[in-house]
Symmetry: C2
Subunit: 315 residues, 2 copies
Amino acid sequence: MNKLAVVALGGNALQRDNQRGTIEEQEKNTFKTLENLVFLLKDNYNLVITHGNGPQVGDLLQRNDAGEQMYGIPQMPLDVCVAGTQGEIGYMIERILRNALNKHGIHKNVISLITQVVVDRKGKAFSNPVKRIGRSYSPEMAAKLQQEKGWAFKEEVKSGGGLRRVVASPQPMEVLNNSVIRRLVEEGNIVLATGGGGIPVYIDAKGNYRPVEAVIDKDMASSLLAVNIKADEFYILTDVPYVYLNYKKPDQRIAEFITRDEARNYLKMGMFGEGTMAPKMEAALYFIENGGSKSVITEATKLENKKFGSCITMH
Amino acid sequence: MNKLAVVALGGNALQRDNQRGTIEEQEKNTFKTLENLVFLLKDNYNLVITHGNGPQVGDLLQRNDAGEQMYGIPQMPLDVCVAGTQGEIGYMIERILRNALNKHGIHKNVISLITQVVVDRKGKAFSNPVKRIGRSYSPEMAAKLQQEKGWAFKEEVKSGGGLRRVVASPQPMEVLNNSVIRRLVEEGNIVLATGGGGIPVYIDAKGNYRPVEAVIDKDMASSLLAVNIKADEFYILTDVPYVYLNYKKPDQRIAEFITRDEARNYLKMGMFGEGTMAPKMEAALYFIENGGSKSVITEATKLENKKFGSCITMH
C-alpha cells in the first residue's frame, strides 16, 4: 500500500522575500518547488499539498485598503481574504503541478479544495491577539480604524514602526471535508487543501459555521490535517535544509534525527526561533504525538536524496 | 437513482446591483438563494452548484489597480483574479450552504473546488475581444496601459463613458476534474465548481496548461460541465422568473415551455437580449443538444413549486 504524506509548502516556496511578487516570479518559484515533489511521487507516495499565504494575503489586505480609499469599495474581512488567496495560490499550484507531472510523465488528477478549518473560538488566542497583519498605520489612523471597524492594534516591532492590526492565531480543531480529502488522496489523486492555514470558522451554539477574523498557523493546520486523514509522514518544506541547534551561533550544528523527548527539551530551552522554527517543531511534534510515524523539516530541494533533512520521530 | 442537476447561480444571487457589496449584504443574499435549493435536495436531486463572479471580480480588479497605484503592489493577471473570486465566493457559498442544510436537517458534504476550464485559444473570440472588464480610463491612461501591459481597450457603452479594457470571452472546451466532480456528486456530495465561468487556461503544443487573460461566460461553462458530467437537468438561476417573448414590449408574454426549434428560431429573430437572455438560452440549448433532458431558466425563489420557470427541452 502507498504511503500517505502531507507536504506543507512554505510561503517562500512561491514568493520570495527579496522579490516584488509578480506573477512571473511566483510561477517560476512554484515550478521549481513542485518539481522536487516528483521524487516522492516516484517513490509511490500519495500526496496532500498544503501551502502558506503570508506574502499574498499581505498584498491582498493592502489592495483592499487601497480599493476602499481610492474607489470606496468595501473591504472584505480577513476570512474572505484568506479564501481569496486559497483561490489564487491553489490555482497556481494546481496548474503548475499538472505541468511538472506532464514533464515527468506522471498521470494523476490534481484537485484543489477551498478549505475551512474550525478553530477554538473560546481559546486564549482571542483574549490577547498578537498576529500582525496588513500595513502599518499612524496612531491617529489606527485609533480611527479601531473605532470604525473594531480592529485591535499593536506596535510594529520590525522595520518602519507604526501600529499594525493584530488578530488571533487560534488553535485549529478540525479541517472540514477531511474524510473527503482522505478518500481522494488514498485513491491516488493529489489534493491541495488548507491553504494559508485554512479559512478560520467556528461553530456556534446552533451548530452553524460562523466566520472569524483570525490567522491559523499553516504548519499547525497542515499537521492537524495530516492527523485527521491518518497520514504516515508529514513534511514541512521551508527555507533551511535542516533544523539547527544553536542556530547562527559559533557552535551551530545540524540536528538530523530528533526524538520527541529531545525536541520537547529543546523547545523548553528556547533553542528554536519563536516566530520561525519553534512553531514548525510544535507542528511536527503534534503529528507524531497523534499517530504519525515521522515528521520531516527540510528544504524542497533536499527531497531528491532522502538522506537529507531533519527527521522528528517518537523514539 | 437520484437525478443529477447542475444549478448556475447568477451574480445577483450573491451581490445585488443596488447594493455596495459589503460582506453582510452578500451573506444575506446568499443564504436566501441557497435556501431555495433545499427544495431540489428534498426531491432527492444530487447537486452541483456553479456561480457567477461579475461584481466580485470587478471589485477585485479595481483593488488591484488601487494597490498598484497607492502601494506599488504588482497587479495580478485576470486568470489569477478569477481564481481569487472562486476562493472568496466558493467559501461563502460553502459555509452558508452548510448552515442552510443544518437549518433543514440535511446531512451532506459540501465541497468547493478551484476549477480551471480549457478554452479554445485559436477561436475567433481572441481576434476581436469584446468583454469589458475593470474600471474606465481616460484616453491618455488607456494608451499608457496599452503600451505597458499590452491591454486592449474599447469605448464604454454604458454610463460614464471613457475607455475600458476588453478581453476575449472564449468558448469553453473542457472543465478540468470533471470526472472527479461527477463521482463526488453521484455519491451524494454537493459540489461547488466552475466559479465565475472557471479559470481560463489553454493547452500548448507540449501538453502544458498555460494561463490566458479571458472571461468565460459562466452559463456556458456551467452547461459544458453539465454535459461533461452527464447531468440530467440544468438550472440557470437569474433575476427573472421566466423567459419572456417580446420582453418589456406591450405584447410581452411568458414562455413556459420552449422546444429546441422554437428557441433557435427566437434567437435568430433577436427575441432575447444580447448580453442577457440570449447567452443564457444558448447555454440552455447547448445542454439539451448534448444529451441533457431539460434546461430551466428561472429565479431561485421559484424552485419551491416546480410549475414555475421556463423549461427548454428537445421536443
